[in-house]
């Protein structure tokens, strides 16, 4: 298990390094000089030279990448061109809000998705099963920002039940929770569909296994058979997907945060891109990549923990 963990973590670090180099190269290739864009057309050459020097843009590209990596490794992601605040500080301020949104989304989608998937298996072949299938596919195919706009229209504008924008008042948990409902719903509804389909498929496969017959042959109740003997095995592919899911949820959070004007890493990043605030853009991308890799690696380790067969396959 330890060796497996070490290998997974090394792999994650290699991916992170590759992403950072590729990203730096892409930013470097964008036409335009970041320093003059940041300072505007009326900047003096001296001021520009100073900024270029401070951003390290006068160095050769490889040196720049090296410096960026070295600083990033020490937790220094540079400074926001506009506010002069450290990028890491900005990210740490905005990211928790996005993370709360992402995790809330994932949790409710997971609970509902598994329940719907299991329900489709319990009533397989009936009208309920077919309706659930239709519903799931519709959930999957509607983009989250479209749902977001209609949610605002119905629940915030017409019914006035929930706030349309923002993340709630600081220090007021109730208003924060109320502000979370619509974004989390918009973001998660597609995942409910995905998870329901996935759980249904893998549960159906597992229910055909001999060990399910064995459990039944000893008189275990159907509920125990489904939840202890089948779901435990059927859930394994779902966990692998969840990690990827959190990644894609965080990236679609960019749209949802924009629609709901909700502060978060998505709004931070879109703002920085339109302002050509490169240190912030790079810091955000780097941070999100690192976070994503962390989650995927953690999920792999969790699967190894849940499925002894995987654990042993890597031990050998």
């Amino acid at each position: 298990m330890l060796r497996y963990a070490a290998r997974r973590i090394c792999l994650a670090l290699v991916i992170l390094l590759t992403v950072m180099i590729a990203m730096y190269a892409m930013v470097f290739l964008i036409p335009g000089d970041p320093a003059s864009l940041a300072l505007g057309p009326r900047a003096t050459p001296e001021l520009k030279a100073l900024l270029v020097q401070r951003m390290g843009l006068d160095q050769p590209i490889l040196t720049q990448i090296w410096l960026f990596l070295r600083n990033a490794a020490m937790g220094d992601l540079g400074y926001d061109v506009w506010s002069q605040r450290p990028v890491l500080e900005l990210i740490l301020e905005f990211f928790p809000k996005t993370l709360v949104l992402g995790i809330t989304t994932l949790l409710w989608a997971l609970v509902l998705g598994i329940l719907l998937g299991a329900a489709a298996v319990v009533w397989r072949g009936t009208l309920t099963d077919r309706l659930l299938g239709l519903l799931s596919v519709s959930f999957i195919s509607i983009p989250s920002f479209v749902i977001a706009i209609y949610l605002i229209l119905v629940f915030a504008v017409w019914l006035r039940w929930l706030p349309a924008i923002g993340a709630g008042n600081p220090g007021d948990p109730l208003s924060q929770i109320r502000a979370l409902v619509l974004p989390a719903f918009a973001l998660g509804i597609g995942w409910v569909g995905y998870l329901a389909r996935l759980v249904r498929a893998s549960l159906l496969e597992v229910m055909g296994e001999t060990y399910i017959r064995t459990a039944r042959a000893f008189g275990l109740s159907e509920r125990r058979v489904v939840f202890r003997y089948a779901l435990r095995v059927a859930i394994i592919p779902t966990i692998a997907l969840l990690a990827v899911g959190l990644g894609s949820i965080l990236s679609s959070a960019v749209f949802v945060e924009a629609v709901f004007s909700r502060p978060g890493i998505g709004t931070l990043m879109t703002g920085a891109v339109s302002n050509r605030n490169y240190p912030v853009v790079m810091g955000c991308v780097l941070f999100m990549t690192a976070f994503y890799l962390f989650v995927v690696t953690a999920a792999d380790l969790l699967i190894a923990r849940l499925d002894p067969r995987v654990r042993d396959a890597f031990r050998r």
Binding site: T214, A217, F218, G219
Partner: protein
Amino acid sequence: MSEAVLNVEDLALSYPGGVQALRGVSLQVRPGEVLGIAGESGCGKSTLASAMISLLSSGAEITGGAVYLRGENLMALSERDRRRLRGREIAMVFQDPLTAFNPVLRIGEQLVDFQVNAEGSSREKRRRAAAMLSKVGLEPDLALSRFPHELSGGMRQRAAIAAALLMRPAVLIADEPTTALDVTMEAQIIHLLRELQAEVGCAIVIVTHHLGVIAELCDRVAVMYAGEVVEVAPVDDLYHDPLHPYTRALLSCDPSALVEHTGHLPTIGGRLPDLADPPPGCAFAPRCPLASESCATPPPRVRPAPAREVLCHKVAP
């Protein structure tokens, strides 16, 4: 005849598409006896085994008859009442020990779970599981904490047999318990089953196409063909004096019965009839060397000796 512990009466079962997998099967299992069910693939022997524990695969439908376990009609019971009998009165060992256990639960956890119908705390159940595991020749403390994939095929089948005997059921159904094992393992498992049967005193119904297993283990044999029991006989009588033409053909196909070196293995010509539309007469007639015109009508059930039954026109009562 002593009172049967398991009594199958005129059981008919069909699968989707109208395939009549069992066509009026009647069979009694007496307390403590070992009954073999033999026949070629597709003759309905595994279906009969699942019907005996009323664990049918989806789509299968009982179209007639009944199965009585200690006098209770399984087909008339609610699913809940049927569950209550499983493991305690009747248990099953499956063919493939590789997939018989859940891969993500330890053997110990599963053996405890399997005793849902038994009295006692889970610690007691664990102790009972350990005792039974050592009886089947496994190191109990080791086996309890293992995951199924950490055991070899033979060890898993031993564990499966231990699981089935945990509650000392009256009947043990073994569906091809040695088919997935190699020859040495097969001999060991047969030996183990015999030993445990003597100790626990349960009746065993063993489904197999391996005639050697039947000769080794069984007291009586039922030979099935095309969803019917065509011959029932004590094992010695069946081997020395097979009466049904199909039994005779089956026995002569056993490679271990060959005396001389031959270039090819003996086979029965032709194939099983289409069970979606079975012939009205004897199902074996098209492949039978003795078939005559009378075989186009349903064959009589003949009792040539007190303990024997044959379904054939050509056998004199």
